[in-house]
Amino acid sequence: MATRIHPLLILFTVLVYVFLLGPLIIIFGASLSDTTYLTFPPQGLSFRWFQNIWDISAFRRTIVTSLQMAFLGTGIALIVGIPAAYALNRYRVTLPGWLSTLFVLPILVPEIVIGFSLLRSVTVQAGVPVWYALLIGHTLLVIPYVIRVVSASLASFDFSIEEAAISLGSPPARTFFTIVLPNIRSGVIAAFILSFITSINDVSVSLFLTGPGVSTLPIQLLAHMEQFFDPTIASVSVVLMLLTILVMIIVERTLGLAIVAK
């Protein structure tokens, strides 16, 4: 049986896609332009603006910093966030209800406020070096996401299987790794990807915490834009997108992505 789809619905869907993907296509096209100014459709075809990213040392350095922040920040957030999410769910009956809300509160606070308060406390007050302050910022930024997403997995986790494992002689710590973790894997992977993307694209928090010689790619992009309006901006954007996609593919290949399943 052929279901007829209303023409308006098709039109609407197409418009949504144009709206979502259009700007990306324009950026992608502009990054390949052979001109010294941003233009679309591209005139001529060249990779020189990608080459340019490599030539400008600030971009090279900030790509490295961005990746460091994204990997380390997300890593620390997972190490802190998974046990927190575990405890919140395991002892949900005995813990007060507001506690889990407290852990996701930072999502509700405007990032710019978090950035500023970290600048005041961590950088100015405590005098933590820029690179470390930036890492603290990125870690704090993504912890709520980790807790939220991992908690969602744990909410459907049956803790009696943990008790079953313990009764069969598996010590609690080992049980966490052999029984709990494999069963919330999809949540952990989703948390990783979400955190990674949040971190690598972050502007608000990084804006306050970057300093002399230490910056992230989006911040460097902004700085570059203030002086130049050449297709480098577009090519950096493309690199940022490709990096994100690449990491997602690697994570999917190595850990087996099952976000959709959960």
């Binding site: 299987i161 008790e163 079953a164 494992a165 313990i166 009764s167 069969l168 010590p171 049980t175 029984i179």
Partner: protein, 352 residues
Amino acid sequence: MTQALTIDRITAHYGTTKVLEDLSLSVAEGELVSLLGASGCGKTTTLRLVAGFLQPTAGAIRLGDKDLTRLPAHQRDIGLVFQNYALFPHLTVRENVAFGLKQRKVAGPERLKRADAMLDRVGLAHLADRLPGALSGGQKQRVALARALVIEPPLLMFDEPLSNLDAKLRIDMRVEIRQLQRANGTTALYVTHDQEEAFSISDRVAIMHQGRIMQLDTPEVLYQRPANAFVANFVGFENLIPLQVTTRNGAEITARTAEGAALTLSQDQLGPIPDAFTLATRPDGLQVTATGGAGLPATLGLRTYLGRAYQYQARAGALSLTANGPLSQPLDPGTAVTLVPNPEQCAILKPE
């Protein structure tokens, strides 16, 4: 291998709420004891204390001559079967069963051999490579049983293992559980709220109420000689008639209700009868007869049809009673009758 379990005067709290109070229980080697009681009476709590997932606030738990009270749960060596099966979803059936052996450092090939042998015993050898998600409820419970049995624990504990299964399977599985437990001679503690299930497979049954054991005895004794009003009610002695002995004549005694109706009972049939007692009868044990004879004068109320008899709600003075009458003679509400207890269906409850 098998050992006796002793629960010695334990008290347990959740936060500040007392859930178990001064509870003692012992299960002999190779014996199957059931904990039977209404929802919330503390059955699961008792198992969790023995398993080590909860610490008692007072008392001790021993298995054989080993004191379990302060031992971490993973060192207690107890086979557990849960109501919701609690299989490891990410491991195959075989890996599930082999899990406990792996913790005991049994070498790979030996482990698989023993897991497969156990799966064979529960009739699931052909499903060894499946994930638990692809099993029926009954199959899952068999895997759970195999997983608990394969470590040859000195004690097996079951928490309502059959309540998620349909009626027919429940009966098959309980027989199977009993056979495996008997064959291995494993001491077992079995939680259920199904009276028939408890009575059919247990050596002894503990009837629990609000965190206490009301009576612990063989099913036969519980069914015929309940020790108190709670247990009497639980096993179907619906009528509780308070009586006072007025005359004793050897084994024969005469006792009267508050209204003065007299009953004659024999201590040869019912055991020793104290001066003040309660006579408990099932509806079947209270016969409806024409007025005039010895017994309790009563007025009939609502009549219901049971198939094998008519059942009447009746009033005898201040008491409301349930009695059965013959099918040959349906009686209308308001009829005056005499209710006569049948000693074979009666029990004597001492004052509490």
